[in-house]
Amino acid sequence: MSLSYLFFIVLGVLAIASAIVTIAHKNPIVSAMSLVLHFFMLAGLYLTLNAQFLAVIQVLVYAGAIMVLVVFVIMLLNLSDEAQLKEKLNFRKIIAAFFALGLITQFTTMYMGVSSKNAFLPPQSIEAGKAQSIGKELFSHYLVPFEAISLLLVVAIIGAIVLSKRRYE
């Protein structure tokens, strides 16, 4: 058993456990913090796949910025434990069950399709995870989508400013 396999098992189990706590726990703060833990485990999984840059950006952006805002809002509104929703079987749940089934079949077929020969990463993949190679790809091959996303973000920022300014008029 190699070290990366061991890491994968530990991180994977913890990631799934924290994801379940995120959706199952009553207290919003506990949910938010287990989501933060989940992001850390995901970052660890990226590291086992030689994607160092992605791993650190995952922690920096999701755990360090977005989730801080989420926790901030939960604390500001001082949300307490959520009441248990009593819901009988309805149309939405049936649809959701079908989607879940589809997702599970997709994962299993993907897992069956991977031959054990290609399960290990080639040694040159350690270069692919570096910031340099990601930057090169981003500004040559994926330039148009990158610029489109930048434009989208600018629109979102302007929209946020317009919405928050309206109150003072």
């Binding site: 913090m33 650190v56 910025a65 801080v68 926790v71 604390m75 910031a131």
Partner: protein, 347 residues
């Protein structure tokens, strides 16, 4: 597998040395802080425990260990317990990627001065960890179930998110000049008085101010503003848990100083050619000299942190936000633009 266990043992020994060093630095800076503040306010400061009061920080730690640890009845016990651990753990974890000196070669074996100083995401790792450190303070404020603590925690998260941006953008200019995210590369790039502070004076000032805000030090200590919030986020903490927050503050100050020294003041580079002392590169003597100069730079910066705290009054909340979003952020963006244009022309 044998090699892996050796790597783990090496990392563990280095981590123990670094943690021991950090505890000493924290104790020393508490003492210096009290002495300097006394000097600034025309007092004498601690002078009872040991010669010149030198043992005062140890006496304080001993006292904190013996104190009763009180958890408020209405507090969220679990988060109340884990919050100081997050604060302190993050403060120590940053040192995993900080290079304390150049590597040395003994019997054809390369020994690094640091746990992983060559990692190619060094700066981003530090930024990521400091951005996670805010959870310690925020959760402490929330879990105490006290309005003053909660206000302190909320202020802290708002403040840290605001100043992280300008800090990160100031860093981008340094990364543009060096072309690497590794701290070792950035330090090596500043050899021979080519320190980044001379090339990036504006970036240095932005980074310095943001560091003050990120470490919650005065004039940015709104999360624990005593006149308004009793003790801020740590109002409901006592005993060694309070001690851990206290320790984390000084460890963060040392981290911020080390980071400034490394990014802008040449890190472990000697301020003169090493031949003057007859030092050969990659020897133990050279590494010790480099480490000594890094310690001197960090000590000067820690003194500067203390000096500012006892000289400048606290910002008002709106002033803090205006400074962060309307002054530092645009300046940092302009700085990146100028750096990029100049680098493009020079190439």
């Amino acid at each position: 597998m044998n090699e892996i266990s050796w790597i783990l043992i090496e990392a563990g020994v280095k981590a123990l040395i670094i943690i021991g060093m950090m505890l000493l630095v924290a104790a020393a800076s508490v003492y210096v802080e009290r002495k300097v503040s006394a000097f600034i306010q025309l007092r004498i400061g601690p002078n009872r425990v040991g010669p010149f009061g030198l043992l005062q920080p140890f006496a304080d730690v001993f006292k904190l260990f013996l104190k009763e640890d009180i958890i408020p009845a209405a507090a969220d016990r679990w988060f109340h317990r884990i919050a100081p651990v997050i604060s302190l753990g993050v403060a120590f974890a940053v040192y995993a990627v900080i290079p304390f000196a150049d590597y040395i070669v003994i019997d054809d074996k390369i020994i690094q001065f640091g746990i992983a100083p060559d990692v190619n995401i060094g700066i981003l790792f530090i930024l990521a960890l400091t951005s996670v450190g805010v959870y310690g303070i925020t959760l402490a404020g929330w879990s105490s179930n006290n309005k003053y603590s909660l206000l302190g925690g909320l202020r802290s998260s708002a403040q840290m998110i605001s100043y992280e941006l300008s800090m990160g953008l100031a860093l981008v200019s340094v990364i543009l000049i060096t072309g690497s995210l590794s701290l070792t590369d950035i330090v090596r790039d500043q050899a021979g008085w080519r320190w980044n502070i001379f090339i990036q004076p504006l970036g240095f000032i932005i980074f310095l101010v943001s560091s003050f805000a990120e470490t919650n030090r005065a004039p940015f200590d709104l999360p624990e503003a005593e006149p308004e919030l009793v003790g801020g986020f740590n109002t409901e903490y006592s005993g060694m848990k309070f001690g851990m927050f206290f320790l984390a503050e000084y460890a963060n100050m040392a981290t911020a100083s080390a980071l400034i020294a490394m990014l802008y003041l040449g890190g472990w580079q000697l301020p003169f050619p090493p031949e003057w002392l007859g030092l050969q590169p990659h020897t133990l003597a050279m590494a010790l000299a480099q480490f000594a100069f890094l310690v001197i730079k960090v000590a000067v910066l820690i003194f500067f942190f203390i000096w500012v705290r006892w000289s400048i009054p606290r910002f008002r909340y709106d002033q803090l936000m205006n400074l962060g979003w309307k002054v530092l952020l645009p300046l940092a963006i302009v700085n990146i633009l100028i750096t990029a244009v100049v680098l493009y022309i020079l190439k």
